[in-house]
């Protein structure tokens, strides 16, 4: 009984320490720098190298539960795309994706007041059916999106005059947290129509998607979690929300490493005691 309660107390101490480790750097930022990984650089390169006035798809395939990780990525990549004068077709494979998109746009558009709806960006809305919808976009975009969110017909949106299928899209950027998401874009857009795909995902999902960043270029880079979002911010010279939060992330990781070491030493000592007895 006493062993159980002691472990409970230990757990509570760990939670409290973690809370302090995350909260303090938010209040008193440390300004630690993060090194840019190759995966983030590849994603940045794709947007950077796309020609002026290219039409890109930004697919918001997530909901508020993964906002902390994906919203900073969306904002940074959108900022980059607008700075390169790309035209952005906004859509979502998740029902709440468009709400996330509108939040990101309202923030970034404040920086680019000259961007006009229909010419520089268009909200095409949520599309049900995931991979089937993407496949259909490869055949006829206007059929999948007969009108935008405000009811304007596809043919009447100036930025989409020359966009008939996915082949007319310079690159696709999927910000995804699960299915449907990046994987479906790779399978149905990149591997079938050769449209370059990049994106960002939550840290939990990143290891499952990294194999697609390969010599076959199934994915052009990948942003995984808050760290990658902060890397992207540093690539576009912006001190954004991810950069600020990375201090907390780093301190928490140091604490967790320390706690893992302490836990292992305790376990070793307990095992040694067991052997001696």
């Amino acid at each position: 009984m006493s062993a159980v309660s002691s472990s409970q107390v230990e757990r509570r101490i760990v939670f409290l320490l973690l809370l302090i480790a995350v909260a303090l750097p938010l209040i008193f930022p440390l300004g630690w720098k993060t090194e840019v990984s190759n995966y983030s650089k590849l994603a940045w390169n794709l947007i950077q190298s796309a020609p002026d006035s290219s039409v890109a798809i930004f697919s918001f395939d997530y909901d508020p539960s993964s906002m902390t990780e994906l919203q900073p990525m969306a904002e940074a990549m959108l900022d980059h795309a607008f700075s390169r004068n790309h035209r952005v077709l906004v859509m979502a494979l998740w029902p709440q994706g468009m709400q996330m998109a509108e939040q990101a746009f309202s923030k970034i558009l404040a920086k680019y007041p000259d961007k006009r709806y229909g010419i520089d960006y268009a909200y095409m809305g949520y599309k049900v059916a995931g991979i089937v919808a993407i496949q259909s976009m490869g055949k006829n975009m206007a059929e999948v999106f007969p009108a935008d969110l405000s009811g304007t017909k596809y043919q009447d949106i100036p930025m989409l005059h020359d966009v008939k299928t996915l082949k007319d899209i310079a690159y696709i950027n999927s910000l995804s947290t699960g299915v449907p998401g990046i994987k479906e874009w790779v399978m149905a857009a990149r591997d079938v129509y050769q449209t370059p795909v990049t994106g960002g995902t939550t840290a939990v999902s990143a290891p499952g998607l990294i194999p697609y960043v390969n010599s076959q270029q199934q994915l052009f880079g990948l942003l995984g979690g808050l760290k990658a979002a902060s890397e992207y911010e540093s690539l576009i010279d912006v001190i954004g929300p991810a950069t600020v939060k990375m201090d907390s992330q780093s301190v928490a990781h140091i604490l967790i490493l320390f706690l893992i070491a302490v836990g292992n030493i305790k376990a070793l000592r307990a095992r040694k005691r067991g052997h001696n007895e």
């Binding site: 939670f15 089937v132 994987k183 079938v192 939550t202 939990v204 199934q218 979690g225």
Partner: protein, 212 residues
């Protein structure tokens, strides 16, 4: 009024955040209340949201505006109703037909896509000249990729007992697998800390106004 509602909403969020966090101390009625409200609210929210964002624009609106032109939509509508008959024990069997169609079409679509993207392209991505790059780190990475893939796959070869020299690649494969599991764990920790950061940012910024 809208100001009152936004302040009320903020305090409600704070209350539920603390209620959920209180589970870290121990199970308690506040946690249970928050959990059950979350489950009930989510179910109701999604029902309404999906009706308005899927059923209404893709079925009802189209049928109302142009019934003849969209008559084909009656087929998925009928399949949907057949699926709902699962609720009643006597008509449960009817739902097997739409389920069979769903599984069949999903298998058909995914078989081709997965074979191309997850098998052929992934195998091609491993068949590389490791010395093609001038950068030593990339060359080393390529060599590790090839060795890791071969040894990792070899670990799952069970047709012959792995002993002696044939056990070496298998043991190497375990190391590669363990390192990949470690990396996944690291990523998972990062994701969970991010969630905590998100909640603390809400408390410190939106509620207490301590940070900008």
């Amino acid at each position: 009024m809208s100001n009152f509602m936004s302040i009320f909403g903020l305090w409600l969020s704070v209350f539920f955040t603390f209620s959920i966090f209180s589970f870290l101390y121990k199970d308690n009625p506040f946690y249970k209340l928050a959990e059950q409200i979350f489950v009930g609210l989510s179910a109701a929210y999604w029902l309404v949201y999906l009706f308005y964002s899927i059923m209404l624009p893709n079925l009802f609106t189209k049928l109302v505006h142009d019934f003849r032109g969209n008559i084909i939509l009656l087929i998925p509508a009928a399949l949907g109703i057949m699926m709902l008959l699962r609720i009643f024990p006597k008509t449960q069997w009817v739902s097997r037909f739409p389920i069979a169609i769903m599984i069949g079409t999903s298998a058909g679509i995914n078989m081709v896509r997965y074979t191309k993207s997850d098998l052929l392209s992934q195998i091609s991505a491993t068949m590389i000249n490791p010395f093609a790059s001038s950068s030593p780190s990339i060359v080393m990475g390529n060599i590790l990729l090839i060795i890791g893939t071969i040894c990792g796959v070899y670990y799952f070869y069970f047709s012959k007992k792995q002993e002696g020299i044939s056990a070496v690649p298998s043991k190497l494969g375990i190391w590669f697998l363990m390192i990949s599991f470690g990396a996944s764990f690291g990523y998972t920790v990062m994701a969970r800390i991010s969630l905590l950061i998100g909640r603390l940012e809400f408390l410190l910024k939106d509620w207490l106004h301590i940070i900008n």
